[in-house]
């Protein structure tokens, strides 16, 4: 197990360097000049700009800038926001917990509701309930999250007046409920469908027949034998989905005015603020990589036949 983890960690390094370099060079190619933008309408002094750029290391070649960036990253330094002179790490520190809370909320919702719906419709495959769930998930997949967000906002906040249309306090679980459900909708649909197919397929497997023949109580057959084996593809999906959830927060946070990473990244993109975007994107890539590592390790827990050496 230890050697397996070590090997996986080593394999992550090239992917990590590749993804961050890709994002870094994309931002480098941005046409806007964040230093010149500091001066607004005023005609900036070229010598002064050059001095600031030199001070920030922005006159170095791309590979050198990337190298400096990586070195800083290992020391917890995500660079500096040029406009505000604030360290990007501070900005992330402020916005990240909000997004984590939102994403976690959406994630828990996805897992609980998705697995439950999928289980039930898988156990009763091709019955009325299953058909309804299939149509419901098909609709969820078809409605883009920005549409669903405004639809819910209109319905639950403006028409029914049950909830506030925007989030004032991100620590209030009640206020985060609506954005979390909107963020979770797409993943929820996939998780439901995955669980359903997996359960319906495994229901016909030999080990289930054996378990029933042995006279095990139904609760044990379904809860331990069936669910555990059926969850493997679901866990795989959930692992890769965390990154997508955090990226999806850009849209959801915008609609509901949640001051998280998504909002920050969007504002930074509009200001051509490379360092902030690269910092947050790097962080999301790390989260994605760690999540997929955890998924591989979880396999061993779910399926004892899989052994790592």
């Amino acid at each position: 197990m230890g050697r397996y983890v070590a090997r996986r960690l080593l394999q992550m390094i090239p992917v990590f360097i590749g993804s961050t370099l890709l994002i870094f060079s994309m931002m480098y190619a941005l046409p806007g000049d964040p230093v010149a933008a500091l001066y607004g309408e005023k005609q900036p002094d070229p010598a002064q700009i050059a001095a600031i750029k030199h001070q920030l290391g922005m006159d170095l070649p791309l590979w050198h800038q990337y190298w400096n960036y990586l070195i800083g990253l290992f020391q917890g330094d995500f660079g500096t926001q040029i406009a505000t002179q604030r360290p990007v790490a501070d900005v992330i520190e402020q916005a990240f917990p909000v997004t984590i809370r939102l994403t976690l909320f959406a994630f828990v919702f996805t897992v609980l509701v998705g697995v439950l719906l999928g289980m039930v419709s898988g156990l009763f495959a091709d019955k009325a309930f299953d058909r309804i769930v299939l149509i419901f998930t098909l609709l969820l997949i078809s409605i883009p999250s920005f549409v669903l967000g405004y639809l819910f906002q209109y319905l639950f906040a403006f028409q029914l007046d049950w909830l506030t249309p925007t989030v004032q306090d991100s620590r209030d679980i009640g206020q985060l409920l609506l954005p979390a459900i909107v963020l979770a909708a797409l993943s929820l649909a996939y998780v439901t469908r995955l669980t359903r197919t997996s359960v319906a397929e495994n229901l016909r497997a030999d080990y289930i027949r054996t378990a029933i023949a042995k006279g095990l109580p139904r609760r044990r057959v379904v809860g331990i034998h069936l669910l555990r084996n059926s969850l493997i593809p679901v866990v795989t999906f959930l692992g890769t989905d965390i990154g997508a959830l955090m990226a999806g927060a850009v849209v959801t946070e915008g609609i509901f005015n949640v001051h998280g990473v998504g909002n920050t990244i969007f504002e930074a993109l509009n200001r051509r603020e490379g360092s902030t975007v690269v910092g947050i994107a790097t962080l999301i890539v790390i989260v994605y990589l760690v999540a997929s590592l955890l998924v591989d390790l979880l396999y061993a827990v779910l399926d004892p036949r899989i052994r790592y050496d």
Partner: protein
């Protein structure tokens, strides 16, 4: 997009020794999901090709005396004021009809180019294996490590002026990995079959084996993923345009319209809801088509 086979919907039919594709077609014709999605798609394509059939109003010319007129008047079928007017006094219905072009163009062109690029990468990686496979697979991993929407946002902001082609290029840049993975897996399975070994021992050239034997037989899973992904790309275009970094103002697109309508959501929800319904219906049609094609091509459901 949708990673699992969906065994419902298609009934197993006795194979009569026809090819996979003829069999699939027989299955598809009897699948109500396929029929519904096909009708929707044909309607949509008609809208793309001949918007004049559906509306005679201009999507870009507004009459401010119509400003905010939210009450639809139902004067005549497919009339100009069927869905009311937007904040600029433009016919919402006309914009719904004319917006189809951008969405469908992006969806179809991205899917075609992604299938081509991803397909070639997957074919080369799967067929040759070895170090070439390792290198290509790592490159795929790198692109896969960047969340799709986030990556597309970064790419698009590097362009000061975004148009249809830029949006297509950005979606291609980040979207090809999914097809590459599926194609690679499919090619590896087909490569091990007897007819490929037979062709090899008969001295067939690499190119011949690839295009006569591997590609036609490895195509089915790729087609399934591509069909479903098409709906996803349409949704992606709308999302990016909505965020203001995809298509912009003079362009007529559903995403742009949703973005326009969001500020008037409380007072005139029809401005936002109409294009939103169009996006959702279109995505639904293509995802249903993908599901139906999957059922027809999946040998397990036979």
């Amino acid at each position: 997009m949708d990673p699992q086979p969906d065994p419902s919907g298609a009934d197993a039919k006795p194979a009569k020794g026809r090819s996979l594709w003829t069999d699939a077609w027989q299955d598809l014709r009897r699948n109500p999901m396929f029929v519904i999605s096909a009708v929707l798609i044909v309607l949509l394509l008609t809208m793309v090709a001949f918007p004049g059939l559906f509306t005679s109003a201009s999507p870009t010319v507004g009459d401010l005396t119509h400003h905010y007129q939210g009450e639809p008047r139902y004067t005549h079928f497919f009339g100009e004021d069927w869905f009311g007017y937007d904040t600029q006094g433009r016919s919402v219905w006309a914009r719904m009809v004319h917006g189809a072009r951008a969405s469908v163009l992006v969806g179809v062109l991205v899917t075609l180019s992604v299938t081509l690029v991803g397909g070639i990468v997957g074919l080369v990686a799967g067929y040759f294996g070895g170090w070439l496979d390792s290198v290509l697979s790592r490159i795929t991993d790198i692109f896969q490590g960047i969340p799709f929407l986030l990556g597309a946002m970064v790419v698009l902001t590097t362009f000061t002026k975004s148009n249809l082609w830029v949006v297509i290029a950005a979606l291609l840049f980040l979207g090809w990995t999914q097809i590459a993975r599926v194609a690679r897996g499919s090619v590896i399975t087909v490569k091990q079959s007897d007819y490929v070994h037979a062709a090899k021992s008969l001295g067939a050239s690499t190119v011949r084996i690839m295009f006569r034997h591997i590609v036609p037989n490895a195509l089915a899973p790729v087609v399934v993923v591509a069909t479903t992904a098409l709906g996803g790309y349409i949704a992606a275009e709308a999302t990016l345009s909505y965020l203001g970094i995809g298509l912009a103002a003079p362009a007529v697109s559903w995403g742009v319209d949703v973005s326009n309508g969001k500020d008037a959501l409380r007072t005139a929800p029809h401005i936002l809801i109409s294009p939103a319904v169009m996006v959702s219906l279109t995505v639904l049609a293509f995802i249903m088509l993908g599901d139906a094609v999957r059922n027809a091509l999946d040998p397990k459901s036979r």
